[in-house]
Symmetry: D2
Subunit: 333 residues, 4 copies
Amino acid sequence: MFRKYKLGACLPTFGSCADRFCLSGYGKGGRTMEEMLDLASKVEGLDGLELVSNWHVNERNIRYVSKLFKDKGFEICMIVPDLWTQAKWGNGSIASSDAKIRKQAIQEIKKSIDWAAELGCGYVDIWPGQDGYDYPFQADYLDAWKRMRDAIEECAQYNKKVKVLVEYKIKEPRTHCFVSNAAKVILLLQGIKNTGCLLDVGHSLAAGENMAEAASLLAGNRMLSYLHLNDNYRMWDDDLLVCSIHVVEYLELMYWLLKLKYDGWLTLDIFPYREEKVAAARNSFEWIRYLFERIEKIGLDRIEKVIKSSDGNLVSSLIREILGGNPRLNSRR
Amino acid sequence: MFRKYKLGACLPTFGSCADRFCLSGYGKGGRTMEEMLDLASKVEGLDGLELVSNWHVNERNIRYVSKLFKDKGFEICMIVPDLWTQAKWGNGSIASSDAKIRKQAIQEIKKSIDWAAELGCGYVDIWPGQDGYDYPFQADYLDAWKRMRDAIEECAQYNKKVKVLVEYKIKEPRTHCFVSNAAKVILLLQGIKNTGCLLDVGHSLAAGENMAEAASLLAGNRMLSYLHLNDNYRMWDDDLLVCSIHVVEYLELMYWLLKLKYDGWLTLDIFPYREEKVAAARNSFEWIRYLFERIEKIGLDRIEKVIKSSDGNLVSSLIREILGGNPRLNSRR
Amino acid sequence: MFRKYKLGACLPTFGSCADRFCLSGYGKGGRTMEEMLDLASKVEGLDGLELVSNWHVNERNIRYVSKLFKDKGFEICMIVPDLWTQAKWGNGSIASSDAKIRKQAIQEIKKSIDWAAELGCGYVDIWPGQDGYDYPFQADYLDAWKRMRDAIEECAQYNKKVKVLVEYKIKEPRTHCFVSNAAKVILLLQGIKNTGCLLDVGHSLAAGENMAEAASLLAGNRMLSYLHLNDNYRMWDDDLLVCSIHVVEYLELMYWLLKLKYDGWLTLDIFPYREEKVAAARNSFEWIRYLFERIEKIGLDRIEKVIKSSDGNLVSSLIREILGGNPRLNSRR
Amino acid sequence: MFRKYKLGACLPTFGSCADRFCLSGYGKGGRTMEEMLDLASKVEGLDGLELVSNWHVNERNIRYVSKLFKDKGFEICMIVPDLWTQAKWGNGSIASSDAKIRKQAIQEIKKSIDWAAELGCGYVDIWPGQDGYDYPFQADYLDAWKRMRDAIEECAQYNKKVKVLVEYKIKEPRTHCFVSNAAKVILLLQGIKNTGCLLDVGHSLAAGENMAEAASLLAGNRMLSYLHLNDNYRMWDDDLLVCSIHVVEYLELMYWLLKLKYDGWLTLDIFPYREEKVAAARNSFEWIRYLFERIEKIGLDRIEKVIKSSDGNLVSSLIREILGGNPRLNSRR
């Protein structure tokens, strides 16, 4: 089951991870794209990498990038327009009340679409992280929503070969982002062709969602297009190694991905601030392999039967069995 | 502005409030409906009361109830089908995988619709609180969703004079309820005529929503039909007195209700466990009056201007001014 | 390792579990103590049961209770004074500003101590759940703290054969309980002999604690006296079956219990609202067995080495190995 | 009442605020200390500024700094040793398991103490933000605790003229910081002379505390030495403008500061990412003035009476009155 999925990683996984206190990052800083690629090459089974526009790919280097990744044997699985690293996006990008900024944001996305098309990449990921608000009385919710829909529609029509995905997140960098959960993405994209949702597992957890349920809702609306994997403690987007904490929920997610016949990428979006990057990626993929192997061993049918029972006791036994324990209840000490 | 709204309360506000530790309730227990009505009569300005089916209204007492409330001068603003007080609903009502239970649930709702029609009440409130799950691997999310839609559709078509509302909540009594946030209600009800959403302020806070944004999203989809007011600490449905904690968010909500031209009920859904009930209701309404008066004094136009600015500093000054403080920044100590 | 611990359960585990919406409980209601004991007898390996004063044990039935439990082969591992099931405790028990109530609370505790002594039980558990506040401006924090200390001191001196434990919880039934986390218990009990802490895993999770760290802090202050086991989603005391969600944190807790040489009871405090009770207890104990077996297999030394490394990658591999997966990173697909 | 307090601000309030996505900051970057001071000078009533060691003050510039601040009329209210901006602290500072790092951390603190003494500043603020862990099984809680105590003790004895404060925070930059709440600070510092606690309001909210209760607990243990003011949404240290959200809790805090006879600094620790800095500081101080004026108007005695009553209805009326509303309950519409 594991083999059917392509495995990806965001390129910055192999850079230096910074936070607002340690702005130069905890790792070795200043790695070039080539150095990050060299690290990525050490991760067995890695099929593709995500690039951020302007940072990694731009007008001048695109041919070089195309050749570089081909030579290294990597697909480019996603181009992410940069709508969040510059001060000018601070009050919003595609939802900005400033028409000029909004136009620039759309322009950024279209550039990314062009680059994606040229690089043979089928997706761009709009993450409207700066589109939101920090205080009550700071946003016109209806106007913002309309602007986002219009912008996405314009971008989605731009090139049918590149699908426009929207990644939701409940907070950070704003205290409130407009596109905060899976159901809102569906509402936002309804009726706009050539669009879909990027489900980031950590964003789903932080939004108070069960990620398997979120995936089901999206798939039921034909909008589950791409996944970002990581983990956290449900309060914040900690971007921990995959399956660090939510082993049970991760098992359930993987079951549902199989059940929903998801066939897209499984891409790491981790921030290994203090960890060696190659090992962090390897560990994350080993966890994914572990999850699929465990589910395969039990079998989808047995799992489905337990789900249909809705019986908490059968669930408890099942999970213990999946994790290699004894499912029975009557064993003597 | 305050006067344009009808004020309601859930009848159990005037009963004894119990929790899972003190099952007999913290107040004087065993009050009859007549005694609760007598207490309600002491709350100036109260226009209507919500009743729960079977508890307060049933086949045998409906004519009596109708006369009783008319005599006391109260409208009946809502009939709530009982889908959550009996053990049989423990594994779900309209989403239950047991067809028999599901049928009973639909039957309960239809009875409530009949009673609402007879009592001149325009709404029933489906709160599918038991429809959810407690553990991962315990629910078939897609099946459950489909069942809920089918059930609601059947009920909504039953009597066009009574609108079928759905009240969302993220958790309790299940650790996860299926209909958890405003966007999900919209998805659930899309395309089903004669339906709408009941926005409970505390449920919105517990779902990680900003309640003004939730109201806007619902109104933008023509589904903001009814409001429940209370307050909490964002983690749980504490059902505190109105405006106990979230004064700023409440101000913003009231501004948006005016802006969105909401003209429905403002109904208390508080659980004054340890407080005298009449005073708790009065206090809650005084807070609502306070909020509207403050907004009226500043004026919608000035507020709108600040919102359009998206400037956190202007917001800070505005709120301080609304609360009777000095909006200026350059005053000497 | 598993065998060194005595296994307990709160007697109401085998009763009917109610919540504020379904007050009669989701299970078969009205079970007698004898019926609950019969259910408990079906749980292999169960050594003892917790009783609540007045509910289960009282002046009139104590001799009968003593014989009954002896005949069934159960120890009584804890007597819990009832400071939370009656309306009179609604505004507090040992911290109440009403001297009369406070005196009654102390009287209740002393009665429980007497009964514990008579039943050969070494502990009473003070859970001051009603001692707290629901609103800002509702409590004099310093006075309340002093009253609690005085009350506990008086009780702790009453009978040296029965140790007085305090169980902390951050909220419920109050929105804020005074004794909210492990560090506060230590402060509260410092210098008072014959006292200790009851660490409820779910309360620890809801308090934002890592439960292994809480256990360490308590043990480092010689106050880790007793454990309640269950699980939840970190927001509320859901009282789920043991290890339903926090498998990794539970593994860490069990490692630290061994490391800290904890040798007390492992007692279930679960609320299997919708689950068959005997299976819920069995499942919970099987999970505990699973945890200890897994840790034993890896060995404390190897775990300690990883902890000393502070390396997130080594941690990730270790946990995967503990759960039966492949610890290596370089395996081919 | 307001006048009795000295008002401070962290110097970076007037710089450019960055986050992990927009590393160059949302404001104008690269402001010199002199430029930040010029901005600070525009804030009426500002008495002092906090400096971070190495960033703002160091061996070479200390005489210049001393003169500069004197000339501008500012006290230096706090020196913060830099234990969190460099990669070398990534796995901890005073709790690090690496003795060399630990020694360096202590050295940093002592340097800060020297500079504080030279600058006439009475405090250094140890914020052990990097001392914690990100994953389960990544920390030896007992060892870490002991190391922190030893380090703090060594620093506290170094110069009796400079008090060593500890600032707690539950998370960020680690997912779990060791010194996470007020009670833990008290445990950590017990018996170590010349120490105290820095209570950051936002850290208290994020720790699940009510900040007035935290202040009382600290003051009751003679450890409430200094305050940082800001606001957030309880999930994260958003560092919003003072009183943006928690108006009611802020009122309660100010009441208790007066009641507890706190006479230290009220210092802003805000991150006005997208806001003009001078106005953000002014707004925050105007809110503080507002809070004290409102409390003064009602009077401490009336507030105390309500607190003693523990009556939620009296609390509700009181707060409404404090905010300029009608406290009565029987008013007609």
